[in-house]
Each structure stands twice: as structure tokens, then as C-alpha cells.
Amino acid sequence: MQQIRKLFILTFFLTLFSICCARQHGCTIKISGRITDIDTGLPLSGVTITADPGGFQAISDSHGYFQLVSLCAGSEYRVTATSLGFESASTRLTLTTDSELDIVLHHGTIKLHDVDVVGHGQSVITTNPVKTLSREDIAEARGGSLAEHFDALAGVGTLQTGTTIAKPVINGMHSNRILVLNNGIRQEGQQWGSEHAPEIDPFIAKDFKLIKGAEGVRYGADAIGGVIMVMPPAMPVDPHLSGEIHTLYNTNGRVGAASGMLQSAIERINGLSWRIQGTAKRGGNTRAADYYLGNTGIEEANVSAAIQYSRGTSSLEAYYSRFQTSLGILTSAHIGSLADIEARLDAGRPLEDYPFSYRIAAPRQQVVHDLGKLKWHRDHADGSWLDIQYGIQRNHRQEYDVRRGDRDALPMLDMILTTQTLDASYQSAAKNGWESEFGANVSLQVNNNVPGTLNTPLIPNYDSFSSGVFFIQRLIRDGYELEGGIRYDFKTFDAAGFDNSLEYYGGYRQFHNVSGTLGAVIPMQDVWQLRSNIGLAWRAPSANELYSNGLHHGAALYEIGNPDLESERSLKWIVTPSYTAELFSLSLDVYAQYIDRYIYARPSAGEFMQTIRGTFPVFRYEQTDATFWGIDLTAHYHLPYKLSYQIEASMIRARDVTNDAYLPYIPGDRLDHFIRWEIPVSGKLSASYLKLGHRVVRRQTRYQEGSDYVAPPPAYQLLSAFGGTRLPIGDRFLDVTVSVNNLLNTSYKEYMNRFRYFSHDMGRNIGLKLGYIF
């Protein structure tokens, strides 16, 4: 522990030193401009603008505007704008003062390969901090779950159920407290369950973004902790067939995956384009440092298809995706009593020894998630635009447990959740720096339990109707940007079910709330920027919090919902000072959040449930007032000899202020730091690099005695290594990435893994990832 504390202190001083060094360079010039389409004259969003030398990058926003900062006076730069479907445009500039540069892009008649998003440009308009995964981050995480893709970012972690299920955690919030946008549609699975991972194939996306603030105004209820956005690339305009093929193999679990994408515009019908994509993945039992984790295999088969027709200033897009998975739940987690948990805690590892196997047996999950989307987009010549989007999702979740007789093939839980959403939003063109965005959302959700499980459903059948309207006003001046917004939401929830005594329960509830946002972005001394946002957001209690009443297998506790729960309300203030210079960049997210009527399951003092299987402690859903505050640090420093050093660190403090107690499942302090070497390879190879990583996670000492079976596990440290290069094959490229996670095969337990009672986390994993882009 002493060593970890020293490491934090060292990191702090290193960061301070780096700031001092970087400030001496004084590169303060900026280039501002706008990207437009030669044919329509309309602004182009998502265009990557780079300035070399120095690798400066920006991405044009939805109005086509971009800004490159921290350029050096007197230096000559080559500024290049690239976007899929357009010919790249380049120009050379020698800068002496701040400059404006408007770039007009021509539709491409040549094949463009891929658009590499390698920076952290803010293409989502908000005063909250937005983090974007780089192409390198995506390549290294490829083959992992959606949550594992974001795990590299400061302030983001995972809530795991063994090695097969991972959910993203943003500043201590997860499940119903964060919002996942899948290609612009609110992902609606049974996300209330900590063992229910987002049903999204990461291979679909090229663009992974994270908003850390409370974005309740723009995106509606549930965006208390943040928003995750997973976006496929823009549809092609090039009539030549193009695509990508990705394959990978991970040694741990012997995971193999292949994903392919084909796309093209149709030459005969101007404006019509299509894309198809599919992924297959299979893995067997994963391995901790010293033993196999029984029944932790996974199978996935995912497909998606999109078609878009653009004419003039309008476009219509239809999209469909299916995510289908079958995954095993660690056999050793199949327990039934406190005595079992105690025995496993004493052993510190599974009592059973299992060999490697691809077989998936009960307990297991099988999920099919279908998503359909129809979107109409219209650009107006003045820069304003209108979006109308309809989405329909069908989530079929089946959970199988070890059952009596030959009923293992019969699901214990069989639910179909159907969600339809309609979103309309209009954004005005900027006039004298003022721009407005307003919109409305309607959502209908129906959950049905499929009869025949021979088991009492965990949650009732319900239908829910939600609607909301919002208005956001923005003022953009040279020296600052201000944003204010307000939203009103109304939600109904009508539930009906029978409990295990065959008693009818349920009822009709209404919730309504006002959300708000107020933020500012203030550039200071060109290299500094201050970003601040206060967001008021809310969420209604979920079905399990209201009505669950049953034994939670795997946790040996009996959970009882509370039908009288009120909605949670959250106020989150996040301040992000950031510094960007030629050699050094730094971003610090400092946040404080107060949640009124925070919902969580607390052990009910002295209450036990007696069943023929044994006696179990009772946990009841209650509400309290909670505070969260924390700091996320991201820093990047370019060293000589093409070396660079990067830090991602986060700490969070959370308290139940009503009961003066700590909250459960709050991540421990974490530091990731990397040293990266850009290998100066001559010849045909390009983009070659090596990276060594070190992760330090402190023990979570802010834990309430008696709220868990055991105190949080000890601190741990992990080493990792990554490397990659790009090989030319004809006029195409093959990207090769090698990753080694848990390099030293360290045996450890992570507090945020709900199966830490039963087993250790994953041991060494070596991955080889190939990507062919044509």
C-alpha cells in the first residue's frame, strides 16, 4: 500500500513538472474553419482535420466547424481534411497569427480506405467533457465487450459478473444510471440487472464516445451518470465496393472471432448506399492465473445492415442489427447458502477443478437483441437541420439455472422487452453566435414474461410510456461558449404480475420531472480551456427496484422491491480544466454529484427469509440521499526519441449521507500509465508502435462493515503490453495488433467483480488481431 501511495505522489509531481516544461514552448496559434460539401454547400460533420508535423487533430462538428489549437508560430504545417466518401484536401500554411481556413471537399471517385479517428476531438456539442476512443484504443480492445472498450478511459470502469459479463461504470454509476446510445437509439435491454451486459457488438462501430456529465436534457431520463455513444461510420458515397475484415485470437479462453463489413454506394441510383456487417465469436473457459474458470464460455453471432438514400439536402436511413449471445456463468458461483459462500471465501478460489472446454452449461444466459431504426435527416442551407428518428428494439432474455430433474434446458427467466422510440430534434443555424436546439421524444415499452418457466418471474409484465420535450440555447463567442437547457419528462409505468404465493401485485405509477443543464466553455491563454457544466437529471425506479421478490442465486440473498419508491433526482457539477500544447496535454475532470432519493438494496437488519433451501439474509430496496465526488486525470507527454507517456487516473468518493455510511460497489482508486514508443521503421511498414502499461488499483477501504460477506479484496497491480503495425498488401493495408493483458499472470481479485467471492480475475491473455481494410 505504501508503494502505491508513493506511486500516486510520484505521478502527481511528474504531472506538475510536465506542465511546467510544456508551458515553456508557448505554441499558441490556432486555426479555425469550416468544412463544406462542394455539391450542396452544406457543412460536413465528422471530417478529420490533421496538421503535421505534430499530429494535431480535430473533428468537424455538426455544423462543419473545427478548431486546431496549440500550433507554433513560424512553423509550416500541412493541413489535411479527410472523410469517407470525399477526396482528401490538403494545404500548406505558415502561421504567424490565428488563422481561418475554410475547406471544400469534393465527392470521391477513388476508393478511400478508412477514416482513422486517432484524436480526442469533441464532435458532440455539449459543455460536458467528451472522450473519444482512438483507433489504437479500439484496435487493442477489439474482441472484448463494449464495457472493456471504454475501460481504458479515466473515470470509467466495469462492473463484472465473472469474466463473461461486464457493464460500463462511469464515475461510479452504471446500469439504469447511464445511457447507452446504439447508433443513436437508446439501448433498451434489461439493463437494471448487474449481470445484464449491453447487447451491442463493438465491431459495428468506428466511433466510441463517452460523455461524463449528466446529460438529462438532451438524452432524457437515466443519463444521470453519463452517456456512451456507439456509432457506425458514415454511409459510403463511393460506388466501389469497400469493406473491412477483422479476425482475432485470444489465448485466454481460446477465443476466436471474425467480423466482416461490406459497403458501397449504388452507381445507378445516385444517393443510394448500403452496408452489411456480421460478427461471429466463440470462446471457451477462461483462466485465472492458476486455474480454469468452469463454464465461462461465450458464443456470439451478430449481423447488421443499413441502407441510406440521400437526395439533395435530405437523407433517409434504415438500419437493422441483431445481437445474439449465449454465455456461461461460472459454475462455482452456483451456490445456495451462506455456508457455501463462507466455504468459498475460506478457500479463496473455486473448490472444483475444471479443464478447458467450449461447452456452455447451466447456469447460462441466452440473449437476442434486435434493433431497427429509420431516420430522416434534413439539412438546410443556413446550417440548421432536422432529425426524425424511429427505433424499435426487441430484447429476448433467457436465463438458465441448474434445476431439478431434466429442466436445465428450461429457462428460469424468460422475458421479452419491446421498446419503440420516436425522436425529433431541430437545431437552428448560428445567428450572431446564438443557436438553439429543441426536440421531443416519445417512448413505449412493453415487458412480457414468457409463461412456462415453472418459476415465479423476477419482475412483472409492464408497459411504460415516456415522453419529453427539451430546449437548449447556446451562445458561441470567440472567448467563450455558454449553454443552457431545460427539459420536461413524463412517464407512466403500469405493472401486473403474480408473486410466488400466486398473489396479484402491481399497479399504475406516474413520474414526471424537470431536467436542466447550464454550462460554459472558456478558452484561456490559447492552451488552456475550462469546461464546466451543471446538470440536473433524473430516473424513475426500475421494475426490479419496485417489484423484485425472490432469492438471488449466486449472491445467496433474498431481494425485496419497494413499490412506493419515488424517482431519483441528481445534480452533477463537473469542471474540466484542460491544457493542450505541442508536447503536453492534460485534462482534469473534477466532479461532485448529489443524488436525492438514491435507490439501492440494503441489508435489512435482523431480517431473514426461511425456505426449504435454507435461511437467507433479506435485502430491501430503499432510498437515501447520496453524494459522489471525484477526480479523473488524463495526461499525455511527448518525450524525445518518439517516446510518449500517458496517464489515466481516477478516484471517487461516495457516501450515503442520510445514514452516514459508505455506498457499496464504488470503484477503488485507479491509475493506468503507459510508455509508448513510435517505432521509426523504414520501408513498407507504417504506424508501428510498442506500448507498455501499468495499472494500479487501490483497495476500496470505504466499505461499510456488514453490508457484504467480506471486505473488499487487496490492492493489485497489472502490467500490459501492446504493439501494432500496418503492412501494405498491394494498395491495401493489413493492421496487426498484439496485446498482452496481465503480462505477469498476476492472481488478483477486483472489487467491482461480483464473483470475487468465488474466484480470481482473468490471468494472462495474449491477443493477436488482424484488420484488413479494402
Binding site: 459454475t331 475444471y354 430433474g405 419503440q420 418459476n455 412483472p460 409492464y462 426449504i612 433451501r613
Partner: protein
């Protein structure tokens, strides 16, 4: 203006579609929970034990302990006489009152009973399940000597795959039974007095 009208028209069509395509929840159907064992009985029948084999008595003493939700009636206890042998049979009932103990025997590879709580040297046990299943649904309990009263704990465990192979006949009273991964299907507790031979249930 015309363009705006078109936009609004499309919006209305979309709104209409959402309502047409939507539907409300299904009426819930009562799902009778059939997974749990609802009631259980342990029947103790006195037998004669000769040369390692049971011999049925003409008028045996029979004691039945009934459990609902795992609990016996308050004050329930039985007296077992030292130097006697009792045939112990589990009878388990499902939601409809049907006997289900045969399921455990049929699925012997993942079921195992443990009889716990007796002081050392007081009890011994011989399996008597059909087809040498060695589950412990039926067996013979030998009372070796008297002792103070104790709480007898009968646990029928649903084992994880492969765990049965690690269990030997001598594990019938293994207090460390949780080392054999799985979950309890049945967990019954009641008081037993192991009394001197000839004292029977005389208080």
C-alpha cells in the same frame, strides 16, 4: 413552408406508426413455482440389523417429522435408542403435493445427502437407495451410543457437474460438505435425543 409541412407530415406518420405497432402488456399468468420443494418428511422406522442387513420388524416404531418451508413444528424432537438401527426415508413433495424424491435418486450423479449435527461416534449410516445410487434419500441410521440432545441437519445437495466423483461413502456426515460445490435443494433441521436402549420416548 411546403417543406416544413412535409416534415410535419412525416413526423405524424411516424407517430401514427409507433402507436399502431405498439401494444400493451400481456395479462400476467400465475406461474406456479415448481422448482422448489414445498414440503418434506423424514420417516424413521426401527429395523433389526443382522449381519450387515436390515430385517423388518413386525411392529416397528415409526417416527415421522414433517417440515414446511424447511421448519418442523415448534418443539419437534425424536428419541433414537442406542444400539438400534432406523431406516431413514426422505419424502419430498412438489407444489402439487406429488412425491419427488425419486427425481433425486434418478439424478444420482448430481445429488448427495449429508446428515450432520450428531456428536462423533453416536451415529453411523448405511446407504439403501435403489440401484446402489448412494444418494442418501433412503438409508439406515445406526445409533451407536447415547448422547446429549443435538440438532440433526439433513441436507440434500444439488452438486455441480463432476463433484459427485469426489464424494465417498464416508462423507455422509462430512461437516465440510460445502467443499463439494453446489446448492442445497433441501435443508432440514430438528432435535434428536440419542437415549439409552430401552428408554424410548418416555418423557
Amino acid at each position: 413552408m411546403k417543406k416544413q409541412r412535409n416534415s410535419l407530415l412525416l413526423a405524424f406518420v411516424a407517430v401514427g406508426a409507433i402507436f399502431i405497432a405498439s401494444c400493451s402488456k400481456d395479462d400476467p399468468q400465475p406461474e406456479i413455482p415448481q422448482e422448489e420443494t414445498h414440503e418434506a418428511q423424514l420417516t424413521f422406522t426401527e429395523v433389526e440389523w443382522q449381519d450387515g442387513q436390515p430385517v423388518e420388524l413386525e411392529h416397528p416404531e415409526v417416527m415421522v417429522v414433517t417440515f414446511e418451508d424447511g421448519l418442523a413444528a415448534v418443539g419437534t424432537h425424536i428419541h433414537l435408542e442406542a444400539e438400534k438401527t432406523y431406516k431413514v426415508e426422505l419424502t419430498a413433495y412438489d407444489f402439487a403435493g406429488r412425491e419427488i424424491q425419486q427425481e433425486f435418486v434418478d439424478d444420482a450423479s448430481v445429488h448427495q445427502a449429508f446428515i450432520l449435527g450428531a456428536p462423533d461416534g453416536v451415529l453411523d449410516y448405511t446407504y439403501a437407495d435403489p440401484a446402489d445410487a448412494r444418494v442418501g434419500v433412503t438409508g439406515y441410521l445406526h445409533v451407536l451410543q447415547p448422547s446429549d440432545g443435538f440438532v440433526l441437519n439433513y441436507i440434500l445437495r444439488h452438486l455441480n457437474e463432476g463433484e459427485k466423483a469426489r464424494i465417498t461413502a464416508g462423507d455422509w456426515n462430512n461437516a465440510q460438505y460445502t467443499q463439494f460445490g453446489g446448492a442445497n435443494d433441501i435443508d432440514l433441521k430438528f432435535e434428536v435425543h440419542a437415549v439409552e436402549a430401552g428408554h424410548g420416548h418416555d418423557h
